[in-house]
Amino acid sequence: MADRLRMVEAVRETLRAELERDDSVVVYGEDVGRAGGVFRATEGLLDAYPDRVFDSPVAEAGIVGVGVGLAATGLRPVAEIQFQSFLYQGFHQLAQHVARIRSRTRGTVTCPMTIRTPYGGGIHALELHSESFEAGFAHVPGLTVVVPASPAETAGLLTASVRSPDPVVFLEPTRLYRSFREEVPADHELPLGEARIVDSGEDLTVVAWGSMLRETLEATAELDADIEVIDPRTISPLDTETIVESVRKTGRCVVVHEAPRTSGMAGEIIARITEDAFYYLETPVERITGYDVPVPLFAREDAYLPDADRIEAGIRRVLDRN
């Protein structure tokens, strides 16, 4: 690698590298083989590794469930679910088995499976192609939930996910797949469970991930304030410390996500800040989120998604309060 890649290319090159490095890696999912994936994230892999790349039947419970068996035989399953909402079809396999086979067996059977799936809105896709349910996945103990926000981050975090001894739900913001290029180092592995301080600042902390990070950076660029921007990267287990330390320093915080507001991850983050940084808060934490409505079809989608304007307005409100 070490090339300037788009996010979707970073996915592909990471999978290629992991297939090459480790014979036990198998890649499968709907249309990942001959077509190379509906976003071309697996293009060329079947040709290069014909014995370890497979097109799957259209059956997400199956895709998730067979992973438990593949892993038991010593393989390292890397499955693609074509869109995040269709992981719901396999949610029971995820929650009842993948997430807990380690604890059920006191560590004697494990499931080092990675489930990659395009996630989030902003590409004017069909109904149910734009959801973000990271909070629901994060509520299942045993899962690691990752959302990358750039090509290099994708490579680093996906490498770590494939190598992780635990199951990872790897949520790829479709909106960022082709939106920009970035230098991606070869054999890049980033730690899971560690947030990234994207921008340092003293006045206010913003926590944002996925494509909301980009909107946030657009918003903060407009602002004449010293803002710390944190990308948790791993949604669960969440790196509380980095967030809490930042809020202790800034005393002000805004959390952004595109998932519906109620019961979203912002609630969890606000609770942790309340627990560990309450006395440092100069003003309440705000959250800028999707609304509590199903993501509308694309003609109304832009109205649903938080954008740089809404984030900027939110930051201003929190800065202006005292």
Binding site: A35, P57, V58, H129
Partner: protein, 359 residues
């Protein structure tokens, strides 16, 4: 007993209108000349809408669109077999069938423009909106067919899904529920040989999809899906059985001649030669030859139909463009619950005020 054969099953395939345009008179359904021409016009309308939709999408005026070019016989033939009060339970590729059921092309385009307006169901229309998640809607159709049975109504539900969908557990559960509850449901699987790029042999080891009915103990039958008369006949029979509580799985063997959706490039996963082969088996051409041979279709009639279809679609495009310009985004808050809960009211208000306070 030591070894004993305890159950035997046969899957039958039906064709009424052969590829050369000749018909098996014993099996030919008794449709009037007008009905036959209506059927033809419906197929033409569907084809033309798909073609126009693809070019609108190419010009950026439409979102992702799933054309059914090549599948018109399967959809139109089956939709014609329904009574007015029967239920249509479609997936995302059923514009041909929906238009037979009098969904205006405008609504189909609205949906493709990302407007919920396109999935509004008129009062008293027995239809469910298109299901985007593959294989989910056959369960709804099983529920409709069961609900009608509970209420001793004669209405049946006809649901559409693809070959890929048959791999989803939901479809199997739907067949099984229908069998248990004597649901008044017909399951129409359009086997167009591909689930996006995935060929049938990577989808299942089953040699036919009709045989999936056996697992649920219901009838399964295959029909040539490019033969509109065959589809009409087989589905009519299935509907009649369904009215008595006997559900059927019909496999209509067809071919998606164009892309999976406008986001898809089939040349990545299939040969032009294969596409050419199926061009020759086009369902409209075949039916046209038959109608011409029967003396029902001359150049003038064809031209009249083409013009009518063309202007209907042009009208629809005008109307939908106008509707799009009047779209109220705040509408997304209005139909989540029957009555808006306070938190949602607050969010809607925040949305209108923009920036004053967030959702």
């Amino acid at each position: 007993m030591p070894r004993e054969d305890i159950a035997q099953f046969t899957i039958r395939s039906v064709q009424v209108l052969a590829e050369d345009g000749t018909v098996d008179e014993d099996l030919a359904p008794s449709l009037s000349d007008d009905e036959l021409l209506d059927c033809y016009e419906a197929m033409k309308r569907a084809r033309r809408l798909d073609e126009r939709a693809i070019s609108l999408q190419r010009r950026g005026e439409l979102g992702t669109y799933a054309p059914a070019i090549g599948q018109e016989a399967a959809q139109v033939g089956s939709a014609f077999a329904m009574d007015e009060d029967d239920w249509i339970v479609p997936s995302f590729r059923e514009q041909s069938a929906l238009m037979v059921r009098e969904t205006p092309p405008q609504q189909i385009l609205e949906y493709a423009m990302g407007m919920e307006e396109g999935a509004e169901i008129p009062v008293d229309e027995h239809a469910l909106p298109p299901a985007i998640p593959v294989g989910t809607q056959p369960l709804h159709a099983a529920g409709v067919g069961w609900g009608e049975a509970i209420q001793e109504s004669p209405n049946v539900a006809l649901t559409y899904f693809g070959d890929g969908a048959t791999s989803e557990g939901d479809v199997y559960e739907a067949l099984n529920f229908a069998g248990v509850y004597d649901a008044q449901t017909v399951f129409l699987c359009q086997n167009n040989r591909y689930a996006i790029s995935t060929r049938l042999e990577d989808q299942t080891a089953a040699e036919t999809l009709a045989q999936k009915a056996i697992a649920a103990g219901i009838d399964g039958v295959r029909v040539d899906g490019n033969d509109v008369l065959g589809v009409y006949r087989v589905v009519s029979e299935a509907i009649e059985r369904a009215r008595d509580g006997d559900p059927t799985l019909v496999e209509a063997l067809t071919y998606r001649r164009s892309m999976h959706t406008t986001s898809d490039d089939p040349s990545v996963y299939r040969e032009a030669a294969e596409e050419d082969e199926w061009e020759a088996r086009d369902p409209i051409v075949r039916f046209q030859v038959y109608l011409e041979n029967r003396g029902l279709l001359d150049e003038e009639t064809k031209a009249t139909i083409d013009e009518r279809v063309e202007s209907e679609i042009a009208d629809a495009i005008d109307r939908v463009n106008a509707a799009r310009d009047e779209l109220d985004p705040a509408d997304m808050f209005r139909h989540v619950y029957a009555e808006q809960p306070p938190e949602l009211e607050r969010q809607a208000a925040a949305f209108e005020r923009k920036g004053d306070r967030d959702g």
